[in-house]
């Protein structure tokens, strides 16, 4: 039903476009690739911005989930698309800064994309099960020194994987890769469940993924990585604990196109995003799930992503976490 509607709309738009002067971008619907599955943080974020963004663009946005391999399949599809601005991809911390930093054989690098914006930041938070005897980061670190501490993640090369190691490293655990056991699970939901069920000791993930567990008293937050405290999380910030460098550890969602995307198209996306982010309904919906809306221009987005990447890359190289093969 939805598809026939879309194609009918597409046909009408195409028909109009051929009549009108062809030059002005965009003159037809834009394909937006969501490289993660339905229901995930990226998907919800993308589908929430679709409406205000579509209004700003003035042409329909066709959302398509192209999933697999931690976002790599969809990202490759966008990388190989024509750089005409009609195929764009939603980028995410895992697929566009952690995984490129960790996986040697990833079929793309940051240079294969032109980042037009980052519009959403999710603070990271670390948490343990509510019935755990660990009550602070100090307890956790002390326990980790003894050994037998594990953390769950949504998979190898995800933000959760790197986050767990980065936090342990910042708190002075030597050789955190071997001292603390990483238990990869199948997706973010399973990672949180693993801590609830006692499979893993702690996890560090987007505060939005933990919010309901914290509100329900099932998980105990130990730390958040933003400069400001996060509403609903009774936990100190990384800076309070003297580790401001952990503020690099945040989740984000953005939009990118293939690397040869022309400047004028990138600039247009910058304008559209500004307009879309002014939509009150969009902002309130995203804030309801714990996100911070902060639209970056194409230049800011590029600097932000590369900055995060180089921090992660340095850590990966120092700890020997690079995945060859």
């Amino acid at each position: 039903m939805k598809f026939s509607k879309f194609s009918a709309l597409g046909a009408v738009v195409l028909g109009l476009a051929t009549v009108a002067s062809a030059a002005e971008y965009p003159d037809r619907p834009i394909n937006m690739i969501i490289p993660f599955g339905a229901g995930g943080a990226t998907d919800i974020s993308a589908r929430t911005i679709a409406e205000p963004l579509g209004n700003a663009v003035g042409k329909p946005l066709i959302m398509a989930n192209v999933t697999g391999a931690g976002g790599a399949t969809g990202s490759v599809a966008a990388m190989n698309a024509k750089p005409d601005g009609y195929t764009m991809v939603f980028t995410r911390v895992g697929s566009h800064s952690v995984n490129p930093a960790m996986k040697a054989t990833l079929p793309y690098t940051l240079d294969d994309f032109r980042y037009v914006t980052v519009y959403e930041i999710n603070p990271f938070a670390c948490a343990v099960a509510a019935d755990s005897d660990i009550n602070s980061m100090d307890d956790l670190v002390a326990k980790a020194r003894e050994g037998g501490v594990s953390f769950s993640s949504s998979g190898v090369g995800s933000g959760l994987h790197l986050g767990g190691v980065m936090v342990m490293d910042a708190f002075g655990i030597e050789d955190p890769v071997n001292q603390v056991t990483h238990i990869p699970m199948d997706g973010g939901g399973a990672a949180a469940t693993a801590v609830l069920a006692g499979t893993a000791t702690f996890l560090c993930t987007n505060s939005s993924a933990l919010a309901s567990f914290v509100a329900n008293g099932q998980l105990k937050p130990l730390m958040v990585t933003t400069a400001e405290p996060v509403v609903g999380f009774d936990a100190p910030t990384a800076a309070d604990l003297g580790k401001p460098e952990l503020e690099q550890l945040v989740g984000w969602t953005g939009i990118a196109g293939p690397k040869d995307l022309p400047d004028d198209i990138a600039a247009k996306w910058g304008e559209w995003m500004q307009a879309a982010a002014n939509d009150e309904e969009f902002v309130s919906r995203m804030e309801a799930v714990g996100s911070i809306i902060n639209v970056m221009s194409p230049e800011e987005a590029n600097d932000f992503i590369r900055g995060q990447y180089s921090t992660f890359k340095a850590l990966v190289d120092r700890l020997g976490m690079r995945i060859e093969g």
């Binding site: 229901g39 697999g68 391999a69 699970m185 469940t193 499979t199 893993a200 099932q218």
Partner: protein, 500 residues
Amino acid sequence: MNFLDNIAAGLSLVGNLEAFAALFLGVLIGTIAGAIPGMSATMAVALTLPFTFSMEAITAILLLLGVYKGGIFGGSIPAILIKTPGTPASSATVLDGYPMAEKGQAGKALGMALWASCTADLISNLALILFAGWLASFALNFGPPEFFTLILFSLTIIAGVSGNSLLRGALSAMLGLLLATVGLDLVYGTNRFTFGDPNLMGGLNFIAVLIGLFAIPEVLSMVWEPKPHVGKTRSLGKNSVTFAEYRRCFKSIVRGSFIGVFLGSIPGIGAAPAAFLSYSEARRKSPVKENFGKGELEGVAASEAGNNGVAGATLIPLLALGIPGDVITAIIIGAFMVHGLQPGPMMFILNVDIIYGLFIGLIVSSVFLLMIGSVAIRGFKYVADIPRGVLFPGVLVLCIYGVFAVNNNIFDVGVMFVMGWVGFVMLRNDIPAAPFLIAFILGPLLENNFRQAMLMSGNSPDILFRGPITWFFWALTLLTMVAIVRAGIRATKDLKKKNI
């Protein structure tokens, strides 16, 4: 507040036309979407989600739940009529549903699918309302070692769906396990059998494998030997299920529903294994075992009871713990959060009216499913009347469209055709496809849970025997293995006697 107050509060919340209309619309959308091959229940729910943002919380969630339930039932329609499961959950329905359609009993198979679905749905909803707390705390006892033993036990289903030759079934299962290893290694993150192709990094798409294995070989057979089918149409047959038939299958339906409830309340397993497990249990208990796989009504009933039994039960971890059990409930959790609700234990205290509103809505949804389902059957069953020369090209087009739509990736269509040829060769050599599929679903779960358990214990196998749940499944596995070996020995003896 006591129980009656809660119900009253819930009623006042859903007791309006809007809520029921949303539920009705949801079941309708779901049934239609589920009936389109490749358009799974998951996609239907995901596509509906953005439309619910502006609704009242309870209306929005009822709409999504309606789509979910309708979608799971709708998937059985193409599974029976054209051997193409509309959703992965209905792949077990193909085993007996399609042979029934071949025999001219499409109407009967569809009717039984509907009655079994609605019964299982009702049982599942009641289980949610009555045992949510208890089942949820039980589900949290499932860590990787428990999962491993459960999946190991589930693999013994293969013996039940292997047909005449266990060896051929095992061969098929090995092939499924092998292909399930393609993709990224869970623990090391390295590429396995990807041959440098990024498309293979995500593994073989499940729907593409499913449709390739079941539907395409039929089309190929038709092309291979077109003559026997020329002009032949399958008659619809008696289009209703008699009460006597329903009563005959009732035991299997109830058993299947409970299997569904049990597996559904444990996050991370999903509806397809439940349907297969229920099917194999029904076959094991049946006095006419040999009819299974050749068009046995009870097989359809058991499969559909198994997968619909999951639908209500997946809400148990969702509401009681805030844990999504599968992709669909993950989307529904998103809908809760957009409306400022946080599923979990606190919701039973803070938003108890919504919880009871949902319960009432769920019970009503079973009735809606029955109504919409019977209308849908009446419409769709004429598909069985279309001459094969017209139907099969149409099926092929639907398959290609459906597989492409899952992931918007043309590579998946290629996977479907390659699997179609594999399935065709298997069909010609009497190698059953069902064990392949079960192994393909369960293989990664088995491997991942085993490796997670090993990570937990620092490579000590003791953890696989860490509690009563693991012991229970080890015992079940052992018993089933003994039964299979004994049945094999007996069959050989009988064969020898006949030869003498």
